[in-house]
């Protein structure tokens, strides 16, 4: 047991740690180094063409209008989409948590199905749904509103993608919040009711505090996840119209794998990482084991 390097525990963990080091931690460190170089298609051919440029890529990005556009679009998607999606998750979870509701497991499965469906396939379907004369136009028409060119109008393209993302993702948080709701003791509700608290008061003073740790966690993870949006604009809008749906990762992908500015693209990836680290600092310090 005390033979340091060959203890069985280390041998069991070593393969996974080796793989993680070579294929994850190593590349992450390399990405940082890469972001400090002018790694491009010439360096891809031969590393002799590589030059160290310090923080020039970062400074250059800060002066690239499309980068700021991508940053703003990503923030729009994350800060509007994530709260909306969590609100839908919470409402659905609360409805599923009402006693005496029939067919709960059927509803739960139906509401979760979009989350399991392949993102790309679902985005393709939604492109048709949102297209001119699609189901959304029919609905608007039925309630007497003018048709909207969802994916063709720069003002509506991001709301359309948010709508899609909410539909696709809310089931995941719904299950997590439902588990949290089920842990709120029923006595607290009964006591509040005896004290004459209405539905809104009970929600505000019993439900929200009861699920607060989970709610925080869900909010942070969802926002962080939404910052990593890529496939939706890739499939539904190709970043358009008028660059209204270019996101940070879409920008990074184009920059890196279309124009082969790998150094530049790595810098974008690290700025995204910095945002995520910043978000994680918002998490309230909870006691060990809670949430």
């Amino acid at each position: 047991m005390r033979t340091r390097r060959l203890s069985p525990g280390f041998l069991f963990a070593a393969p996974a740690l080796f793989v993680l080091t070579v294929f994850f931690f190593g590349p992450v460190c390399a990405a940082f180094v890469m972001s400090l170089t002018d790694f491009d298609i010439y360096a891809l051919a031969s590393l002799h063409n590589l030059r160290f440029v310090g923080f020039a890529n970062y400074l250059d990005l800060l002066q690239t209008p499309l980068f700021w556009r991508a940053f703003a679009n990503t923030c729009y998607f994350a800060f509007v989409g994530a709260p909306l999606s969590i609100a839908v998750s919470l409402i659905a979870a609360m409805a599923l948590n009402v006693p005496a509701v029939r067919l709960k497991s059927l509803h739960r499965t139906a509401l979760f199905a979009p989350y399991v469906a392949s993102l790309v396939a679902a985005a393709v379907v939604w492109r048709y749904l949102l297209g001119s004369g699609g189901a959304f136009d029919e609905i608007l028409h039925a309630i007497g509103l003018p048709a909207v060119d969802w994916l063709g109008d720069p003002r509506w393209s991001m709301p359309a993608i948010i709508l899609f993302a909410v539909w696709k993702n809310f089931g995941y948080n719904m299950l997590i919040l439902l588990a949290a709701l089920q842990n709120v003791p029923q006595d607290l509700y009964d006591a509040a009711r005896v004290d004459g608290a209405g539905p809104w008061m009970r929600f505000h003073h019993v439900t929200v505090p009861g699920i607060a740790p989970s709610l925080w966690l869900v909010a942070l993870l969802t926002t962080a996840g939404y910052f990593q949006i890529f496939a939706e604009p890739y499939v539904m809008t190709q970043g358009g119209p008028a660059q209204s749906t270019v996101t940070l990762l879409y920008f990074m992908y184009q920059d890196g794998f279309k124009w082969w500015n790998l150094g530049h693209a790595s810098a974008t990836a690290f700025i995204l990482f910095a945002v995520l680290v910043g978000l994680s600092l918002l998490r309230p310090r909870t006691r060990e084991g809670v949430a």
Binding site: S7, G9, A16, F23, T109, L129, A135, V235, F273
Partner: protein, 272 residues
């Protein structure tokens, strides 16, 4: 007697379930339309004469069989590798002592915040050097060992009774024998969970295969459907059939193993 609250909740859930399922049902419906039915953009709600012509076209002329095979190979390979690496490591972090274990584990926990995309640009270069671009191996590399997988297994393995392992050691069993004969059978539930999770994420993965695969012979289903939808926008019925072929297998797998999947999902949310 039913409260007004329950009735309201039921109404809401029914409406929400219909909205959640509508795009999926519509996808199936359009995929069954004869080509001339679906020429409108987008096409009507229901097929006048349901047909499997689009599926025949996909498999006969659009190479769909190959894409299904690619996806099956990639997702299965990812699942097997992920189980091999993560189960051993998760068990070791839970139940075996070795130098630096807790420090390493805390490091892994902190690393959870690193987005996978951060590694992708250098990883692409590494794949190129290793000759793994345009190969199944290149696609599954990020799935081999995962922080999530290690945590998931560790969490479950913590619950294995120490006495059971100790008794086997006293009987003279080697650590490998204990792992194979005692630990693995007891970890089976969490292995199913991790397996389903890995299979679904490898099946649905998009960005990394898009980067690694440029030969369309090797495309997985999401890549194939994305390119199909770019090249055949007008042929919506066929594109929908492609979307059905991509989505149906994972939905069926999910329905069959729902309980395991949801347990993994809840366990994953405990650690942020």
């Amino acid at each position: 007697m039913k409260s007004r609250r329950a009735i309201l909740a039921e109404l809401f859930l029914t409406a929400a379930s219909l909205m959640a399922l509508f795009p999926l049902a519509w996808m199936v419906s359009v995929s069954l339309m004869p080509p001339h039915d679906a020429v409108g953009f987008p096409p009507p709600l229901w097929p006048s004469h349901p047909t499997l012509a689009n599926y025949r076209e996909l498999f006969a002329h659009q190479n769909m069989g190959r894409y299904v095979l690619n996806s099956l190979i990639v997702a299965s390979l990812a699942t097997v590798l992920s189980l091999a690496f993560n189960v051993a490591a998760g068990y070791a972090f839970a139940k075996l002592r070795f130098a630096g274990r807790d420090r390493i584990f805390r490091g892994l926990l902190a690393a959870l915040i690193i987005p996978g995309q951060l590694s992708m640009l250098p990883l692409f270069f590494l794949m190129k050097e290793l000759g793994l671009l345009n190969s199944y191996g290149g696609v599954v590399v990020p799935f081999m060992a995962s922080l999530f997988g290690i945590f998931l297994v560790r969490q479950y393995a913590l619950g294995l009774p120490d006495e059971m392992l100790q008794a086997a050691r006293v009987d003279g069993a080697s650590e490998v024998q204990i792992f194979l004969k005692i630990v693995l059978p007891n970890l089976r539930p969490i292995m199913v969970t991790l397996g389903v999770f890995t299979f679904l994420s490898a099946w649905n993965d998009f960005l990394w295969p898009l980067i690694v695969l440029s030969h369309d012979q090797l495309y997985t289903l999401p890549l194939a459907v994305a390119s199909l939808s770019r090249e055949h926008v007008q042929d919506s019925a066929m594109v929908m059939a492609g979307a059905v072929v991509t989505t149906a297998p994972v939905l069926v797998l999910f329905l069959a193993l729902q309980r395991h999947y949801v347990r993994g999902l809840l366990a994953g949310s405990v650690k942020g």
